[in-house]
């Protein structure tokens, strides 16, 4: 149990380290981008000599770079400390990782599904795209023990009713024109 908990914590620290490195790279990219901002225009308008449109980004992205470096150092220190406290075998780490593996599958599927929904809206329209999105998203979130004919019927009802129930007020109260895809020639929509 102690080993499992240590490996879990180690995984958490490694995730945080990866995040810190990602953030460091992000702020580095932002600083690089500030050098691509056209200054000839900005200085003339601002009337200043030192301060232009790059000043504020440089200050705050520079600060972000320093802070992410501090976070990296903090994480490395914690990883070193935790890794030194116990040394699990590769097999033990793999077993712990295997147990935790399904936790990211559903979020990843949800993200892919959201992306597919956005892509499909232009082709299928917001109503049909919505039906499919809701069907699939509920199917992803539906717990194993709750699956059964009753849950499937409720899923179908919600999936078919909600897109219409949401679309109609947006269309007729707020006058928002959504892509209708295959429904674009049907008068009532």
């Amino acid at each position: 149990m102690k080993l499992n908990s240590t490996v879990k914590h180690l995984n958490k620290e490694i995730n945080e380290l990866l995040f810190s490195l990602g953030i460091f790279a992000f702020f580095a990219l932002m600083i690089y981008q500030t050098f691509l901002i056209s200054n000839s225009l900005t200085r003339g308008f601002a009337g200043g000599v030192v301060v232009d449109a790059t000043t504020y980004p440089k200050i705050f992205c520079g600060l972000g770079l320093v802070l992410s470096l501090v976070l990296i150092i903090q994480n490395l220190g914690r990883i070193k400390k935790k890794a030194g406290s116990i040394e699990p075998t590769e097999g033990e780490i793999a077993s712990v990782e295997k147990k935790g593996k399904p936790s990211w599958v559903k979020p990843l599927l949800s993200i892919i599904l959201a992306a597919l929904f956005i892509v499909s809206v232009n082709v299928l329209g917001v109503i049909v795209g919505g039906w499919l999105y809701l069907l699939a998203q509920i199917a992803i979130l539906l717990p194993e023990e709750k699956r059964g004919p009753k849950a499937y019927v409720i899923t179908c009802i919600i999936s078919f009713a909600v897109p219409l129930a949401v679309y109609l007020p947006f269309r007729y109260i707020f006058y928002v024109m959504f892509p209708l895809g295959i429904f674009k020639n049907i008068g009532i929509f």
Binding site: N15, F19, I23, F26, F27, M30, Q33, I37, S38, L41, T42, G44, F45, A46, G47, G48, V49, V51, D52, A53, Y56, F60, C61, L63, G64, L71, Q74, S103, W104, P107, S110, A114, A115, I118, V121, N122, V126, G130, Y133, L134, Q137, I138, I140, L141, L142, P143, K146, I154, T155, I158, V162, V166, Y167, F170, F174, Y175, V176, M177, F178, P179
Partner: protein, 500 residues
């Protein structure tokens, strides 16, 4: 007074009243369902408010806010799970009361004291905010920059456990706010060659993405399970007049705590209910009864969290500084309508200011009535599992984001910021500072550059202005104090681990 009455009667028009009833009911539902919150309620409705006139939009957002903060008490008492962080302390005694068969009394008292605490805080808001705004009216760019910078620093330090993560969160928000045209000279920045980003990210998909999608992804990763609850019968107000008299001191004390904490940027009802509970317990003659089903515990928690509503609105309306995450959303909603909140708010938009006061009062009454009459219905609606509710919320968010500018790009922005928000929550980086950074970052830059234009590119006037210097010193000293405190705690933990 006449203007206030005119605004009040305007709010009583069927259309606005209808929105407020819907908003309060939906807010209560969002507050009551664990895994959803008042902030999420305002976020989901943000695109809808964009299409309404400003008075209706403000009234709708306020009704969602009041309903959302109060709704948390239902699940806190009936299933021992706080619907929102603002009701954590309500579970300590509310749930034991329900288990003892006093659920009706707990619910009745919680709803009633939530109601009068909101009214108390609104009265304080009406008295304090315009006076504070009058003092702040002389502010120039130096002071405004100091205020925005200070509030971002305070929020960064107060949200989450790790201050560095809080600061990084603010900087991520500021970076997102920098995309597009720079203030003052409209120089194009950080568009990465995408023309659609020249006008910057629209606030709705960014805020909805940061707030709503992580909820769905978090649920997909780890399901929240809560048992089906039963609505107890509430006779009258649920408690006797003697019990009411016994709670008056506790009510005022807790409301003042809630109001005071609500005023401070970054700390909202999530903290005030716990502080008020601790103070009520320490002041009690029978502290051992707390946690066993003591009415005072419920009253303290619910008075404090609802008093925080008026408290959080004071810095928002008078200085333009949001007190908590929900008021950040309110600020974003008002900015989307082209309303600049701050010291000049009361003179520039008196009708809107009075309407906001009026909406706060009306929504308090609506909350009291709807919670009392609709308790059974809410309990039934809470039976709808999150695996059905969250996809629906997500679908509404996608459509709402699209409707902000009728642009498909908004949906992609929502998705990208949703993923960013999820990653941030996974590594325990608080989202509140990112949101405040995104909302306040552009104004902070604007005031900085205006100030520098006035001073001929010199930073000295920012320090020479006594008010700006004091405000910035508060922010910097707070961060230093947090850092020193963090190092001290770390050393203490090291010492303890060495001794053991």
């Amino acid at each position: 007074m006449q203007e206030f009455l005119a605004a009040f009667f305007n709010l009583c028009s069927p259309a606005i009243m209808g929105w407020m009833i819907v908003g309060t009911a939906v807010g209560i539902l969002f507050g009551a369902v664990p895994g959803m919150s008042a902030g999420l309620a305002v976020t989901v409705f943000l695109p809808i408010t964009y299409g309404l006139d400003i008075i209706t939009a403000a009234a709708l957002m306020i009704s969602l806010y009041i309903g959302g903060i109060s709704g948390g008490l239902i699940s806190a008492i009936l299933i021992n799970i706080p619907g929102t962080p603002s009701s954590v302390a309500t579970t300590f005694d509310g749930s034991p009361m329900a288990k003892k068969g006093e659920g009706g009394k707990a619910l009745g008292a919680a709803v009633f004291f939530s109601f009068i605490a909101t009214l108390f805080s609104v009265a304080s808001l009406i008295c304090i905010a315009p006076t504070l705004a009058k003092l702040a009216i002389k502010f120039g760019p130096y002071e405004y920059f100091a205020i925005t910078a200070c509030s971002m620093l305070l929020v960064a330090g107060l949200f989450g456990k790790n201050m560095i993560k809080g600061l990084i969160s603010v900087l991520i928000g500021i970076s997102a706010g920098m995309v597009g045209m720079a203030p003052v000279d409209a120089a194009i920045r950080f568009t990465f060659g995408i023309d659609a980003f020249r006008t910057g990210f629209h606030a709705i998909p960014v805020l909805v993405g940061l707030f709503a999608l992580p909820e769905v992804l978090a649920y997909a990763r780890k399901r929240i399970v809560f048992e089906q609850m039963q609505a107890p019968k509430v006779k009258g107000l649920g408690f006797s007049f003697t019990e009411f008299k016994e709670q008056i001191v506790n009510f005022f004390r807790s409301s003042l705590i809630g109001l005071g904490i609500g005023i401070l940027p970054g700390i909202g009802a999530g903290t005030s209910n716990l502080v008020a509970y601790a103070v009520a317990k320490n002041s009690s003659k029978t502290p051992e009864k707390f946690g066993q089903g003591e009415l005072s515990g419920v009253v303290a928690s619910e008075s404090a969290n609802n008093a925080g509503i008026g408290g959080a609105m004071i810095p928002l309306l008078s200085l333009g500084i949001p007190g908590d995450t929900v008021t950040v959303m309110l600020l974003a909603g008002l900015l989307l309508q082209g309303i600049q909140v701050g010291p000049r708010f009361f003179t520039s938009y008196p009708d809107l200011a009075y309407s906001i006061f009026g909406a706060l009062i009306i929504c308090s009454f609506l909350m009291f009535i709807i919670e009392n009459l609709g308790m059974r219905l809410f309990v039934k609606l809470l039976g709808v599992p999150l695996h059905f509710l969250l996809p629906v919320v997500m679908f509404v968010c996608f459509l709402g984001s699209y409707s902000a500018t009728n642009n498909m790009l908004n949906m992609w922005v929502l998705l990208i910021f949703g993923i960013v928000g999820y990653i941030l929550t996974r590594v325990e980086v608080p989202l509140g500072p990112a949101i405040i950074g995104f909302v306040l970052g552009p104004s902070s830059e604007l005031y900085l550059r205006r100030g520098l234009q006035m001073s001929g590119d010199s930073f000295w006037p920012f320090i020479q202005s006594p008010l700006a210097a004091t405000i910035m010193a508060v922010g910097v000293l707070f961060i230093i104090w947090k850092a020193v405190n963090g190092i001290r705690m770390l050393n203490l933990a090291k010492k303890e681990s060495h001794t053991t």
